[in-house]
Assembly symmetry: C2
DNA sequence: ATATACCAATCATCCTACAAATTTTAAAGG
DNA sequence: CCTTTAAAATTTGTAGGATGATTGGTATAT
């Protein structure tokens, strides 16, 4: 195996090591990393080199620097950050098509691989969802809706799928959240969730895919209605 | 609405401007960008600041620096580069599931939106493919196979879908290429391509999705066979 | 106890200098 | 004139130091 590290410049070497520290969890998300001075000694590089490495990871969304305070770990995987940045410039309906593609596949895989724990979690979200409706706590309802969809994708056990899906879901949600101040649409959604859970429980891939399609079609219509085509 | 702190630091400001220069095509892919000294003056920042901005974009995969030579534009969108880096650490079958999800959706969208130009291009690849088979030019055959799949996704007219799909296709292909030294599988593939084209021409979304599924299932079996489960 | 002023830590930016790799230019030799 | 070789110029890589700006905590005064 060819060792690429020898050819890598110092900055990339340091950046790679820092990435590993983050991915391995040695540097926990949300916490501060050591200050520049310390890292200069630890990696035995100059300030410039270290700063270029850190800047690269800041730009990638893994770190966040705050003058006077320090540098914190912002995220453990850079793909999500890159995707989020990208989709900011993308039309909502384009994102929705990709989300549909991913969630449909996820639902099918979930139907195959689902464990009892997965089913329990999905059921729990539906139950809590009902309570939220009863108490008219719409913010909570939306939160649980997101959790349900994420849980379906998590049950697929495909990490690439998961890492691609979550940024899209969050982007779409942040777009829609403000606008969708509780119209009747969500009533249907609950039923669809129940149907989807049944399909996943019964390991019925086709039905699972169909329900995701139905849900996404409903959402698409709402978005078109609200954004005025 | 809260203004998202226009107080970007200098490095990010420069990086953003450079990104725009690349995306707009002012700095063409493959060509050199001005040397540091020139850019320092152009952006009116110090060398450190400029270098941090450039380094961020190098890490993101947009630029590539070569000591003594200069800096060239490597790619016009960073998402592909981030995805490629990510999937290097991902199992082939996981990637395949995501590729299936994306290509299936793309085929359906292509069936909806396809233009005559799209159809002509797809047909052309199939024709050339036949010639390649006749002359037993397998390298050419594989190349055309890739072109066909890309063309299907391009016909979807969904840029996010396109930008996500291509890195996955290339990754899978580079994995498989060496191993798949021409066994009988590709014979079937040609038929599937013809069927898929027919479905897209006839705007039959379900059939298009089915043919993509069939193809991917075939590929999955080959991969499992070759990698020994 | 609260508010203010001060101080220390930390990142942001700038500057200069030299090293290493590449490209360009110039010279030398046939 | 052409090729080869050597020197010079160009360009990025790395190092180290200096100053400014922001934050967080501490001590002081009221």
């Amino acid at each position: 195996m060819i060792q690429k590290t020898n050819k890598m410049n110092l900055v990339e070497q340091v950046a790679t090591q820092i990435e590993q520290l983050i991915e391995s969890g040695s540097w926990e998300v949300g916490k501060k990393i050591p200050p520049e001075m310390e890292l200069m000694e630890k990696f035995d590089v100059s300030r410039n080199t270290l700063r270029e490495a850190i800047r690269a990871l800041v730009h990638a969304g893994l770190l966040e620097t705050k003058q006077g305070s320090g540098t914190i770990v912002r995220s453990a995987n850079s793909l999500g950050a890159a995707l989020k940045r990208y989709v900011k410039k993308t039309a909502l309906l384009e994102i929705l098509d990709v989300r549909l593609a991913l969630e449909k596949q996820a639902a099918q895989l979930a139907a195959e691989h689902r464990t009892e724990a997965d089913l329990a979690k999905l059921e729990e979200y539906i139950q809590l969802s009902r309570q939220a409706v009863k108490s008219k706590d719409w913010a909570q309802f939306i939160e649980l809706d997101i959790c349900f969809h994420k849980a379906v994708v998590l049950a697929s056990t495909n990490q690439l799928l998961i890492d691609l899906y979550e940024p899209l879901l969050e982007t779409i949600n942040s777009f829609v959240q403000d606008l969708m101040a509780m119209n009747a649409t969500f009533k249907f959604e609950e039923e669809l969730h129940i149907d989807l859970l049944s399909a996943i429980r019964g390991q019925n891939k086709e039905a699972a895919a169909t329900y995701v399609e139905n849900y996404m079609e409903l959402l698409r219509k709402e978005i078109i209605k609200m954004t005025g085509e």
